[in-house]
Every structure is written in structure tokens, then in C-alpha cells.
């Protein structure tokens, strides 16, 4: 993953653009800017960036509409910048294919961590996780479908296993309830949020040291779950 990745920032607020203009290039990213959705879509086509930072509250076109259009022709990772009042929009954006979100106001550390995760993920997308995957003291042998915690094999039910591997596939990224339900239980069960809660609890009890304060299987309330691997 090259640090010279190109990032397109679509944001109407000049002060936020200014702040990112100083911080992102300092981290070795190339930054392109757009102040409106129209401009942003043109830039996205022209520059073919490695990642898009998208503000949801744009003046001309709704942010979710931008995602829909961008996803029409590219899988470039999109990180959504949202205000706190935009809970619903945020989830909608993720369901539409945005990769992650950062809530304003945010610190630059938080943003950089998300950008790196998304870029890393994009680079690996085509390969997909195969062989083994590990985080903390958890190791998953994807070929033999075995899971070890502190080198001790644990038993997972098929659904628990599927839930875990789904999160592994999106490691570091937030996965919405809808996406999880669809991938694990199938498209008919996208409204059964309680399935997730039941199985997530079981899964945490099996792989987390302290299920009450999970380190890896992190809850993003109102949005979904994220597998934290660091």
C-alpha cells in the first residue's frame, strides 16, 4: 500500500478542506478537492482516486446519491463524513456501499486510521482472506474452518462461524446490521436484528476475554459491528 495514494475530498465546508489540505499531504497522500457533488463526480471520473472522502451534507446533491452513482462504475473505497444528526443517512450510506464513516467533529488520528484500513482492504479485496487470519490471540484457519483462542480450539456453530468470517472479510470496517444479516442469514432476514444480538453475544462469550468490554467484536450502536484487529 503506497503512501502516495490519491484521495478525493468532496466537502463543501472550506475550513474542513483547509484542515485536511494541511494534514493529509503531510501523511504522504495526494489530495484532490471538490466543493460540490457535481464537481466531485467529475473529479472522481477524471482522477480515478484510490479513496473518496465524502461529506453527506452537500449543498447540491444528497451524499447517498453520490455513493449510488460512484458505485455504478467503481469500487473505490468511500469514507463518509457525517454530522451527528445524520444517523439514518449514515446507515443508508453504508448499506449503499460506503466503506466506513467518521462522525464530525473528528480528530485526524481517527480519520487516518480509517483511511488506512480502507486502503488496505481495497488492496486485498481481490484476493480475499484465505489460509489463516488472526487478531489478538484469536486465529482462524479458513481452510479447515477451525478457530483457535490462545492456541486452543473452540467450537463455533455454523452461524457463529459464518458471522465471524463475514466480519473477518471486512476486518477493520464497520459492517451494518443489514449487511451482516443478509450475508449470514440471507436476504429474507434483513429485518431480524435480534438474531445478530443473540449470536454476537454467543460469539463474544467464546472468543472475547471480557465479553462485557469487547476488544475485537466492537459494537457501533445504531449502525452495525466492526472487527477490530489491532
Amino acid at each position: 500500500m503506497g503512501q502516495d495514494a490519491a484521495i478525493l475530498l468532496i466537502e463543501d465546508e472550506p475550513e474542513i478542506r483547509r484542515f485536511l489540505r494541511t494534514s493529509l499531504p503531510a501523511q504522504g497522500f495526494r489530495l484532490y478537492e471538490a466543493a460540490t457533488a457535481q464537481e466531485g463526480l467529475l473529479e472522481a471520473k477524471a482522477r480515478n482516486p484510490d479513496l473518496i472522502l465524502l461529506d453527506l451534507g452537500l449543498p447540491d446533491v444528497d451524499g447517498t446519491e453520490v455513493i449510488r452513482q460512484v458505485r455504478g462504475w467503481t469500487a473505490t473505497p468511500i469514507i463518509v463524513l457525517s454530522a451527528r444528526e445524520q444517523e439514518q443517512q449514515k446507515v443508508a450510506a453504508l448499506d449503499l456501499g460506503a466503506d466506513d464513516y467518521v462522525t464530525k467533529p473528528f480528530g485526524v488520528d481517527e480519520l487516518l486510521a480509517r483511511i488506512r484500513t480502507a486502503l488496505r482492504h481495497a488492496a486485498r479485496r481481490d484476493e480475499g482472506p484465505d489460509g489463516a487470519f488472526s487478531f489478538g490471540d484469536v486465529r482462524i484457519d479458513l481452510a479447515s474452518r477451525l478457530v483457535f483462542v490462545a492456541e486452543k480450539e473452540i467450537h463455533l456453530t455454523p452461524i457463529e462461524y459464518k458471522l465471524l468470517t463475514t466480519l473477518v472479510r471486512h476486518a477493520g470496517k464497520v459492517v451494518t446490521h443489514r449487511q451482516l444479516l443478509k450475508e449470514v442469514w440471507g436476504p429474507l432476514h434483513v429485518e431480524e436484528g435480534h438474531y445478530l444480538r443473540v449470536y454476537m453475544r454467543q460469539l463474544r462469550n467464546k472468543i472475547e476475554k471480557n465479553a462485557a468490554k469487547p476488544r475485537h467484536l466492537v459494537t457501533e450502536l445504531g449502525v452495525g459491528y466492526r472487527l477490530r484487529t489491532d
Binding site: 467533529p105 480528530g107 456453530t157 435480534h194 459494537t219 457501533e220
Partner: protein
């Protein structure tokens, strides 16, 4: 000497009258003895004079009847266009009241005050139009002939033989500011008539010729002159009263006029009016309702209602009494009101009936003592029979048949008894039969049964048997006594029955009033009250009810009461508005807009009208029954008072809320100025040092300043978030998005977010593993936990333990966050949840005092409770509950995997 000073109350009344008059327009009446004396002409001349003085004068309506001299006077004056009214195919050019009100001249001429408006106009009578003009502050010039005065109507009809249908209440003339008598000697008038200068419509030429005889003209002229003189007298009295010249009249006279359903009522009323006017006495029209009247035919009741209304129009107080004995009721009422004179109609019954049944008049005459009794001839209104005896069938034919059956049964019983008992005992059996019939079947059948029982007794049990012949002459006495006894018994029994009916009727009335007032007293809110009132009124009067309540700009607005309201076209709404504006009844059964489909009564509270209640009865005749109308009015009064009461309390509530809001606003302002400015001051200070002194600073100092900026910005963010959350909760804009959640997950999320801020404390989160799932908004509940944990961290010393626990009960889950901090000041356990509450002394880095309020808002939005206590051993404990759904959601169990799970 003080005797001669004017009574202060009376003076005050006069001042108020004057004030009211000052705001009202002035009414000037050109008064004449008969048509053709030149009233209209005089009025027009006066108008021209006004115009010359530069006064804005217009013609509302003037009938020139094609007379050239009059028409020439119309020229040069502005005319308010007439309004064409289509009535059954004929178009009438009527006076346009609304146009006149809109034009708002200083003076308007409205000819022929007694004119009856075409149906479809707002008022039935033109004098009502004039009243409205006066109320609007417009001065009105108008004309009246003496024969149109209500109280003189009878007298004029007697003299001239022509009854005038168009009348004006005397009060209009009395309250006129100026009355100018237009007088023309009869000979001159007859000359004018001959010259064709008096307008005479073709179709009544014959009648009118009879009218314009010299004798009539002299009589009418005398009446007009006398009437004008009376007015001058009155003015003199007023002048004397004002200037305390002398006390003019003795103790006030009170005249009581007794009416009943007979057609002569209006005549009695008019006679009383004249006497009252002559004596400057107040007068009361009284009707005594006796049980028998309950069954009177509708026509009689209507007539009574009209009579009573006439009395009210002429200025009397109309009173309905109930009782069994007319004379007694009248007397006791007369005494209670200190009546000095009683007017009654001359009895129309024949002498023998009077002798047998007695008469009200003779009772009164014998018992009144010092009260004068005036007996007025019972002459009836023309066109109606002198004495109209309506034989009302109160009992059905079937009742007579039943009566006969009862007597047959009595005969059968007597037949069985006959061999063993003396004939006298058999009579008793018959009497029982008669009593039964009287109780059950009414007056007619009981009379029939009395006669039948005598006949049957004679036929079967008096020798010779099976024949009406009588062998022993002594039996004739038996028959006579038996008949009298039977009749008396039946009469008494029937009367008891009627009294019971009357009592039931009164009870029902009281019951209705009671039921409604109880309902109204126990409920609040105008909508609720309107709904209840409509429900009761509908039950009692069997019709549709609508309630209008005035809003702030004095428009009445329909209070929708389920399906009970009726179609409200703009015209009906206009009637409601009119009734409200003028604080008078309008619509069906009244003189104002009688064409509308409902009766509109203003709801009058203690400070004036607050709305309008409309009743559209199924049977319009109901509104003519004074009894029903009175009941309706008393119910409406109750409704008005109840609605006013609730509105006053709502207003008080609103005032309270306003005060609260004001306090809130002040608190917010002080919070914002303090809590938001403090971090801003740090940020501004630190940033400006970085800009200016950057080069002179060590790297460590620069970093420290940057950290300060970051820290304070975060604090600002939290404060803003709290404020915004609070505003959303206050505005009810918080959308609670309930989903199934496990609490451990929410707790975990909250702890993760607070990791840094809780780093100086030990959080002991102990949640049972089998905690059921709850339906909550996870994000909001996380906020509750965050606020409570932050609060605990703020007040508990570093290094202490914060306990977080949860327990599931039957119906709810209780969560608890306990610290070892300062605890809550005693007595403040509730207040800490109030907005902008802060612990004293305020803590460094404390918030705006919204955190706990937000918690309460969120918990309550979930249907739970939140409270705080001091913890034994020191510290505070906050508890809240979340209701548990009855069932947990179904989760598909994985086949064959449960065993593996357990391992």
C-alpha cells in the same frame, strides 16, 4: 335633605347608559299618526340640512311611492344600492344592511321602521337592521306610524278595524334619542288624499278607504299626540331624576299579568304593557303550568310560547311556575315579588261550571287582600272562535275497551261473591275496579268505568235481576251515591297520577341538569367539555348539536364533536358569528335569520360570550315550547360556565408555562454565556499565543497549548451535543427507534466510548449472563449510560469503584450505577433531574446541568422511570428501569449445534 339626592347606583347606571349611548349611533324617529302626513318628506328635508352642514348622510332606503315632491328631495343624496331578494319567484328590492355597514356613513335614512324584511335576509324586521346600524355607531333617521307600535296594535285594530301585521316594539320608540311628531290635521290629510298625494296600493284601495275616515284619523292623531306627550313626560322625569328635583313616584309598582294557553294572551300582555308604561311600573308575565297542561295540544303550547315571547319583547319578565292550584301559585308568587296589581282575563266558562269547579279569578279576588285585581275582557283575537274548546282525546280507544274489561272482571268476581255477601260489599268490588282503571287508564276510561259499574251492579245484582229496572226505589239512592263515589275516587286518582307525572317530569329535568353538570365538573379541556355537552344535549333534545368556541381574534370556530356536528356551510357559520358578535340568539325560531336550520345560542361566560352552541332539533316545534327552551337555556348556561372555567384554567396554565419558559430562557442564556464561553476562551487564548509567540515557545509548550485547544474543543462538543439532545427531547422530536438489544452490548459500547474519561476509575460492570433482551433505542440508551457514568466519574474520587449492575424483574429490567462520591444533597434527589441543575458548589469542568435531564427524558420515552438516592456507606446511586416486553423474540435454533454450544 339627603332624601332628595339621586341614588348613586341609579346615577352610575345612568352614566353607563350615557356611555353606551355615546358609542351608539343616535336614533331619530319621524313619528306620525298615519300614512300621508309627510314623514318621509320631513326626513329627507332634515337630511338635506345635514348635508349642507357637511355631514356624511346617505339614503339606506326611502319609499317615495312615486310622489314627485318626495322624489325631488331624493336627488342629490347618495343612495346605498338595494339588495334584490328572490322570494318564491318575486324579487324584492330590500335594504342592504351589509352594504350600509360597509359604507359607514355618519347618518343613514331608513324609511318605514316597521317593515318586515323578505325571508332570507339576516333579520326578520327592519327595526333589527336599525339596531345593528346603531350598534355600529351610525346615526339613523327613520319613520314610524302610530298604528305600528306593538302596544297600540290592538287599540288601533279596534278603532279602525284594520289590523296591521308590521309592528315595532315600543322600546324602540322609547329608546329613540329624538322623536319628531309630524302632524297634519285630519281635514288637510283628507284633502291630500283626494288630491292623490297619499300613496295607496291598488289592491287595498277599498280597505284603505275605510281606514281613512275622519273618525279614524282623529283617533289615531290623538294616539300619536298622546304617545309623544308621554315621551315628553318621560324625558321630564329623567331630567328631574338627574337633577334631583324631587322624588317623583311612590314605591315602585309591580304589575303581574297572568296568562295561559288561551288565545287572548297577547291582549292581556298588551294591556299590561300599557298599564305598566303609564305607571312606570315593572311588570311580570306569569304562566302557571298545572299537570293537565302537560297534555295540551301542540297548537296551544305554541300559542303560549308566542305570548310569553311577546311579553319579553315588550319588556316584561316572563316567568313559568308549576303547581296544582293556579290561584295559589299566582298569589304566593305575587307576594314574593311584591306585586301591587294583578291582571287576569275574564273567565270564559259558564256560570255553572264556575260554581262547580271554582275559578281562578274568584279565588284571586277572595284571597288577594291588598293587591288590586284587574279583570280584562276575554275578547279574543279576530279570526279565531270566541271560545275554542278543544276536546283532546287523552286516552286511546283501547283504554276504554280495557276499562270495560276491568268492569266485566269486577262483575265476574261479584258473581262468585253474590251468594255469600250482601250487595253493599259487591259495590266495593266495583270501586276497586274503578280505582284500577283510574290509575292505569286515565280520566275518560275511569268515568266510563264509574258509569258502567253502576249499570252492571243494577243489571246483575239488583232485583229484578238481568234487567236495568229497579224494584226497590231505595236503590236509586244507592246508585246515585255509588256513581258520585266512583267519580270522585276516579277524579282524585287521576289527579294523583298527573301529579306523579309532573313530578317525574321535573325529576327528569333535574336529572338531566345534574347528570350534565356532574360530567362537566369532572372533566377538563374545552374539546372534552364540548363533546360531553353535545352528548347530553343530543340525548335530551334529540337533534344535532354543534359547539363553536371563539378563538383569539373573536371568530367562532366549530368544535368538532365526533359525528354530531352538522354540515357547516358559510351561511350557517355566519349565523353563529352573528349570534356571537351580538350576544343574542339567532337562527331557527328567532327573529334573526330564522331561515337557518338551527338555533344558535351564545355561550355567555362571566365576562361575555365565549362561543356559540347550535341545536338543530329533529322537531322544530321543540324550540317553541317554553319549558324545553328554558331547560335548553339552563343547560347551555352550564356548558358556557364549564367551558369558561376550563379556558381560564388553561390560560392560567399557559401563563405558568410562559413564566417557566422565561426562566428556562434565562437559565439557557446564563449557561451559554458561561459554559460555552469558558472553553472558547481557552481555545482563543491558546490559539492566539500559538500564532503570535510560536517561535519563542518550546516545543513542549506548543504541544501543551495544542492539547488544551483539543481538550476544550471536545468539551465544547459535548456541551453542544447535550444542548441539542435536550432541545430535541423538549420538542418531542426524539425519534425512539426501538429494536431488540441486549443490554450488555449497550453497556459495552458505552464503556468503550468512555474508556479515556473513566481511566481514573474502576468500573465494575456486573451484568447477569441470562439478562433478557429489551426493545430499546440503543443509541439513546447508550447516552443514558454515558451521562450517568460521566456523572459518577465527575463526583467520585479518582481510584474509587463505580458499580454498574442490572437485574431483570417480572415486567422490567432495573439498572443501577453507584459511586462513592459526594452523594446527593438531601432533599435534592428530584431536583437534580431538573434542567440546568448544578450541584453546589459547582464542580470544575461541570456541564450545563442537562445530562440527567436528558437521561430522564430518554428513560421516560422508553416507558421507564429514573431516580437517585444516596448510597449507604457514602456516594450516590442512580437507578432506572426499562420495561420488559411480554415475550422474547423468536430466534431460530441451529439444528444439532446446541450440544457443541454447551461444551
Amino acid at each position: 335633605m339627603s332624601e332628595n339626592r339621586p341614588n348613586p347606583d341609579a346615577l352610575l347606571q345612568r352614566v353607563q347608559d350615557e356611555e353606551a349611548r355615546r358609542l351608539r349611533g343616535k336614533l331619530k324617529i319621524f313619528f306620525g299618526a298615519n300614512p300621508g302626513v309627510g314623514k318621509t318628506y320631513a326626513m329627507l328635508e332634515a337630511a338635506h340640512e345635514l348635508r349642507r352642514d357637511g355631514i356624511d348622510v346617505v339614503i339606506g332606503v326611502v319609499e317615495t311611492h312615486g310622489r314627485a315632491e318626495t322624489e325631488s328631495l331624493v336627488k342629490g343624496l347618495e343612495l346605498v344600492p338595494r339588495r334584490p331578494v328572490d322570494y318564491r319567484g318575486t324579487v324584492f328590492q330590500e335594504f342592504d344592511l351589509d352594504a350600509a355597514l360597509a359604507r359607514r356613513p355618519a347618518v343613514i335614512l331608513v324609511d318605514e321602521l316597521a317593515h318586515n324584511n323578505a325571508s332570507g335576509l339576516r333579520h326578520a324586521k327592519r327595526w333589527q337592521d336599525v339596531q345593528e346600524l346603531l350598534s355600529a355607531g351610525i346615526t339613523v333617521y327613520t319613520t314610524v306610524n302610530v298604528q305600528h307600535l306593538e302596544s297600540l296594535n290592538d287599540a288601533v285594530a279596534q278603532i279602525t278595524g284594520v289590523r296591521v301585521r308590521e309592528t315595532v316594539p315600543d322600546s324602540v320608540l322609547e329608546r329613540a334619542d329624538d322623536v319628531e311628531l309630524i302632524d297634519l290635521p285630519p281635514d288637510d290629510l283628507l284633502q291630500r288624499l283626494k288630491d292623490g298625494k297619499v300613496y295607496v296600493p291598488e289592491q287595498i284601495q277599498h280597505a284603505i278607504r275605510n281606514f281613512f275616515t275622519k273618525g279614524n284619523l282623529i283617533a289615531l292623531r290623538e294616539m300619536a299626540l298622546r304617545r309623544t306627550a308621554e315621551r315628553v313626560d318621560q324625558q321630564m322625569e329623567v331630567y328631574r331624576r338627574d337633577h334631583a328635583v324631587i322624588r317623583t313616584w311612590p314605591a315602585a309598582e309591580t304589575i303581574m299579568v297572568c296568562v295561559n294557553m288561551k288565545p287572548r294572551g297577547p291582549r292581556l300582555i298588551r294591556a299590561a304593557r300599557q298599564m305598566a308604561a303609564g305607571l312606570h311600573a315593572k311588570w311580570i308575565a306569569v304562566y302557571v303550568q298545572i299537570p293537565r297542561h302537560l297534555r295540551s295540544p301542540q297548537a296551544d303550547r305554541d300559542r303560549l310560547a308566542q305570548t310569553m315571547r311577546l311579553a319579553e319583547q315588550l319588556g316584561a319578565e316572563a316567568v313559568t311556575l308549576t303547581g296544582d292550584h293556579v290561584a295559589q301559585e299566582l298569589l304566593s308568587y305575587a307576594r314574593s315579588r311584591n306585586a301591587t296589581k294583578i291582571i287576569v282575563g275574564k273567565p270564559v266558562r259558564s256560570w255553572w261550571k264556575e260554581w262547580v269547579f271554582g275559578s281562578v279569578v274568584s279565588d284571586l279576588v277572595h284571597k288577594t287582600g291588598d293587591i288590586d285585581i284587574y279583570v280584562i275582557t276575554g275578547e279574543t283575537v279576530e279570526g279565531e272562535p270566541l271560545v275554542r274548546r278543544e276536546i283532546q282525546r287523552t286516552s286511546k280507544t283501547a283504554h276504554y275497551a280495557h276499562a270495560a274489561l276491568v268492569i266485566a272482571a269486577a262483575t265476574a268476581v261479584a258473581w262468585v261473591m253474590f251468594p255469600y255477601f250482601a250487595p253493599a260489599n259487591l259495590i266495593m268490588v266495583y270501586l276497586i275496579g274503578v280505582i284500577l282503571v283510574a290509575i292505569r287508564l286515565g280520566r275518560g276510561p275511569s268515568v266510563l268505568s264509574s258509569i258502567l259499574s253502576v249499570a252492571m251492579f243494577d243489571f246483575f245484582y239488583v232485583p229484578p235481576y238481568f234487567s236495568f229496572a229497579v224494584s226497590d226505589i231505595q236503590y236509586l239512592l244507592t246508585f246515585g251515591v255509588m256513581l258520585i263515589v266512583a267519580l270522585v275516587i276516579s277524579n282524585l286518582t287521576v289527579r294523583i297520577r298527573e301529579q306523579a307525572e309532573l313530578a317525574r317530569y321535573r325529576e327528569k329535568r333535574t336529572g338531566v341538569l345534574y347528570a350534565m353538570s356532574r360530567d362537566l365538573a369532572t372533566h377538563r379541556g374545552s374539546t372534552m367539555l364540548a363533546h360531553l355537552a353535545a352528548k347530553h344535549l343530543r340525548e335530551v333534545f334529540d337533534g344535532q348539536v354543534a359547539i363553536f368556541i371563539a378563538d383569539a381574534d373573536q371568530r367562532v370556530r366549530l368544535q368538532r364533536v365526533e359525528q354530531l356536528y352538522f354540515e357547516l356551510d358559510p351561511k350557517e357559520a355566519g349565523v353563529a358569528q352573528w349570534a356571537f358578535d351580538h350576544n343574542e340568539r339567532a337562527g331557527l325560531g328567532t327573529d334573526t335569520l330564522p331561515g337557518s336550520s338551527a338555533l344558535y345560542l351564545p355561550l355567555v361566560g362571566s365576562t361575555g360570550p365565549i362561543g356559540v352552541l347550535a341545536l338543530r332539533p329533529k322537531d322544530a316545534g321543540l324550540l317553541l315550547d317554553p319549558d324545553q327552551l328554558h331547560l335548553f337555556e339552563s343547560l347551555v348556561n352550564q356548558v358556557a360556565l364549564a367551558i369558561e372555567r376550563t379556558r381560564l384554567s388553561e390560560e392560567a396554565q399557559q401563563a405558568h408555562v410562559r413564566v417557566e419558559t422565561e426562566r428556562m430562557r434565562n437559565a439557557i442564556l446564563s449557561s451559554i454565556s458561561h459554559d460555552l464561553r469558558t472553553p472558547l476562551a481557552t481555545i482563543t487564548g491558546a490559539a492566539s499565543s500559538l500564532i503570535k509567540e510560536s517561535s519563542a515557545m518550546s516545543a513542549a509548550d506548543r504541544l501543551e497549548l495544542c492539547r488544551a485547544i483539543y481538550r476544550e474543543a471536545e468539551r465544547l462538543d459535548r456541551l453542544l451535543k447535550n444542548l441539542l439532545d435536550m432541545m430535541r427531547i423538549e420538542a418531542g422530536a426524539v425519534h425512539v427507534n426501538k429494536e431488540w438489544h441486549s443490554l450488555d452490548e449497550v453497556v459495552g459500547s458505552a464503556l468503550a466510548r468512555l474508556e479515556e474519561r473513566l481511566s481514573h476509575h474502576l468500573v465494575n460492570a456486573a451484568l447477569p449472563a441470562d439478562l433478557p433482551m429489551v426493545r430499546i433505542d440503543g443509541v439513546l440508551l447508550e447516552q443514558v449510560l454515558i451521562n450517568l457514568l460521566e456523572n459518577a466519574a465527575k463526583y467520585a474520587p479518582a481510584g474509587s469503584v463505580i458499580d454498574l449492575s442490572a437485574a431483570a424483574g417480572e415486567r422490567e429490567i432495573a439498572m443501577e450505577i453507584a459511586d462513592r462520591g459526594l452523594g446527593i444533597p438531601p432533599g435534592e434527589e428530584r431536583r437534580i433531574f431538573e434542567k440546568f441543575y448544578r450541584a453546589q458548589p459547582a464542580r470544575e469542568g461541570g456541564g450545563v446541568g442537562l445530562g440527567l435531564t436528558i437521561c430522564r427524558g430518554i428513560v421516560e420515552a422508553h416507558g421507564g422511570r429514573i431516580w437517585a438516592e444516596n448510597r449507604t456507606g457514602g456516594g450516590a446511586v442512580f437507578r432506572f428501569t426499562i420495561p420488559l416486553p411480554e415475550e422474547q423474540p423468536p430466534v431460530a435454533v441451529e439444528q444439532g449445534e446446541t450440544k457443541q454450544d454447551a461444551s
